[in-house]
Symmetry: C2
Subunit: 205 residues, 2 copies
């Protein structure tokens, strides 16, 4: 029994998984998402079409192969918080952490970081999936935030806080997609949206 899962079997599975991701993202980039079939992806990764589904539940999922790790990182920020850190400060750090999804990949080098982002924004199916995952992650974060500050934040306050900050950042980034040319500008927009929300919308205008 391999405890760390480093046997040949496990290594092979990782290789196949990686091959599927690389093949899929390359083909999506070359031919477009809708135009690429699962059969083509599987063929490019040298497995049968059926095998694709033992690695990913759907065609969309392969694009978000690293989302689980991302989520854990965000929750880890909560676990590592300083004793005197306020909820607002922690939220700031979580937003920063989460924004790295835009610019970094987990273990692949061949991809332009902005490529996946553009793909997700262009394809309705991927957009919907992304919104879904974002929502689920927010729900988890809200629970974790309440658990981290059980005396300071009730469940509704925690949910409102997480939802507000991420809602603001999401909408601000995406409505400024046209204006913000570079990733750096997007970061600036996101930070500003977060600060506006933390300060309170009543003070606007």
């Amino acid at each position: 029994m391999e405890s760390g899962g480093v046997g040949l079997r496990e290594r092979k599975k990782q290789r196949t998984r990686r091959a599927l991701v690389e093949a899929a993202l390359r083909l999506f980039d070359e031919k477009g998402y809708e135009e690429t079939t699962l059969a083509e992806i599987a063929a490019a990764a040298d497995v049968s079409t059926r095998t694709f589904f033992s690695y990913f539940a759907s065609k969309e999922d392969v694009v978000f192969y690293d989302s689980k790790g991302r989520m854990e990182q965000a929750v880890a920020v909560l676990a590592d918080r300083q004793p005197d850190e306020s909820p607002a400060d922690v939220l700031r750090r979580i937003v920063d952490e989460s924004l790295e999804w835009l610019t970094t990949y987990e273990e692949f080098t061949f991809e332009d970081a902005g490529l996946r982002l553009r793909l997700v924004l262009k394809e309705p199916a991927l957009q919907a999936r992304a919104l879904m995952m974002l929502f689920e992650n927010q729900a988890r974060l809200a629970r974790a935030l309440h658990a981290a500050y059980p005396d300071k934040l009730d469940p509704v306050e925690a949910a409102a806080a997480v939802g507000a900050v991420f809602g603001a950042v999401k909408l601000a980034i995406l409505t400024n997609m046209d204006t913000d040319r570079s990733i750096e500008e997007m970061w600036a927009t996101a930070r500003r949206a977060a600060e506006i929300t933390l300060s309170g919308l009543c003070s606007l205008g």
Copy 2:
């Protein structure tokens, strides 16, 4: 040429559309969403399967048949605003207006208002679609809000405001779905989340 579209042709189309919606929602309730096929819906509405797609673009869309009207109502709140009304006040009213989606149907009586809500929350495909529409509507609202207060709110502020309020309300309602038994409790939760966001998250905790 019938200008108001009150000819037989138009009336028939409305009847077919309504029949499709009623058949679909009834079947979804009786057998479940995934278990209901388009063929069954079409048969129950006495049209061919192919015809379904000249009324709705997808199986999911039939559930959100009234979303366009809802959106227009929300934007109308902006148009009807008082000269001295602050952005925060308008946002409050828009949230109130939007929450009615939870409790009201446009023209159908056979449905329990909570039925569709539960359906959407249970089915991942519908949830994703709902999040997508919610997002698109927020983007439109943000643009409209900026247009309504061009001097007070720049595009990022408008987007942050709309995203924050709706993000907070959405997450607060959905994470409290288990706790809030009645629609009234959900309303209360939503209002509280909106107020928290308007006051600013820094004051939390």
